[in-house]
């Protein structure tokens, strides 16, 4: 493209060079770096909008069934491990902080900082997944995974259980809660894993000194994604874990 005689026609209107830094050229379809950056920011936010609607479908299903089966949902929710969930929330918030700090390091031209904070973000993200793995393991052991071996035993002292245990569909309703729990947290974890993959790529490039205060757009875009995944968890945590806590 660069050799085409048609390229230079998009020079600045006043005849000034568009970009003073020789080593930063916008992609061929853009006139300026500013236009390119604005486009990618808008594109990223539009992508996040699709993510909002994607998770939104799950939240809708959750809301509908929770309205239908409040007791079963509260009882099923109370078997989740609140301390681990809260720990994971803190871990994710922390990783959001380190992600923001990685971008800030790029803004102030501290390449070492980028590396350290990206590594920290990845470590925290991985911690989240490991904790999640332990939680999943507990659910398997307790037969709370939907499927043929699903068995939701209610404690006899449970006040709601006493009134609703006669309902033959009660187990099924609890099973729906756990279906949604696994799908929602599973898709969230998938997003985390994808995020970790992108962070690994960024780590590689920042190791080669690709990012500085002039150019850190990929970091910023990944940051948006990472923070969004955090936001999803901020809603998932109270909706899934804290529903029946007060009934104990």
């Amino acid at each position: 493209m660069a050799s085409s005689p048609l390229v230079n026609r998009y020079g600045h209107e006043h005849g000034e060079p568009v970009d003073h830094r020789e080593h930063r050229h916008p992609a061929h379809q853009f006139d300026t770096m500013e236009q390119q950056k604005e486009s990618s920011t808008l594109g990223m936010w539009l992508f996040l909008v699709t993510e909002i609607m994607f998770f939104g479908g799950l939240f809708t299903a959750y809301l509908v069934y929770r309205t239908m089966y409040p007791a079963a949902f509260a009882a099923a929710s109370s078997t989740l491990n609140v301390p681990l969930g809260a720990l994971n929330t803190a871990v994710l918030i922390c990783s959001s902080l380190t992600m923001a700090m990685a971008i800030r390091s790029a803004q102030v031209n501290r390449r070492g900082g980028i590396l350290v904070f990206l590594l920290l973000t990845m470590a925290l993200g991985s911690t989240f997944l490991v904790v999640k793995g332990f939680e999943y393991h507990d659910k398997f052991v307790e037969h709370h995974v939907p499927g043929p071996s699903f068995n939701f035993v209610l404690e006899s002292s449970h006040e709601i259980a006493a009134t609703r245990a006669q309902d033959p569909l009660y187990q099924r309703h609890a099973e729906i809660f756990f279906s949604l729990y696994f799908i929602m947290t599973g898709i969230h974890a998938t997003h985390m894993i994808i995020g970790l993959g992108i962070l690994a790529v960024l780590l590689f490039y920042s190791g080669r000194g690709k990012f500085d205060s002039e150019y850190y757009n990929p970091l910023e875009m990944t940051g948006l994604y990472w923070h969004f995944v955090d936001i999803v968890w901020i809603f998932l945590f109270p909706l899934l874990y804290l529903l029946g806590a007060h009934t104990h």
Binding site: V64, T67, A86, F235
Partner: protein, 102 residues
């Protein structure tokens, strides 16, 4: 390229602490029964936390109007979908038309 706003570290740390406090509050609140307000309290705290992330970590407050509008449209449409679908479920047992013969 124009000069970019660089947030001070202290701001990020403040937001981080606020988010942690929010998490603590929502856990603490869940052990008390406020009746119908349980959800309201949990969701209010979650919305505040999400807004903090959006406006400070994701730097929405320094974004263009178009970006803010895009984000707002996403959340608005989500609420729209939730409300319109729940409209059906909340009105399932309501009788809006007289049933002949009753």
């Amino acid at each position: 390229m124009s000069e970019h706003y660089v947030a001070p570290v202290s701001l990020y740390v403040k937001v981080f602490v606020a988010l942690l406090i929010g998490t603590g509050l929502t856990v603490a609140a869940s052990y008390f029964n406020f009746g119908v307000f349980n959800n309201f309290i949990a969701m209010t705290i979650a919305v505040i936390k999400a807004s903090l992330v959006l406006f400070f970590f994701m730097d929405l407050r320094h974004s263009t109007r178009m970006t803010i509008l895009t984000a707002a449209a996403g959340f608005f449409w989500l609420v729209l979908m939730l409300c319109m679908i729940m409209m059906d479920y909340w009105s399932r047992n309501a009788i809006v038309l007289p049933v002949p013969g009753k």
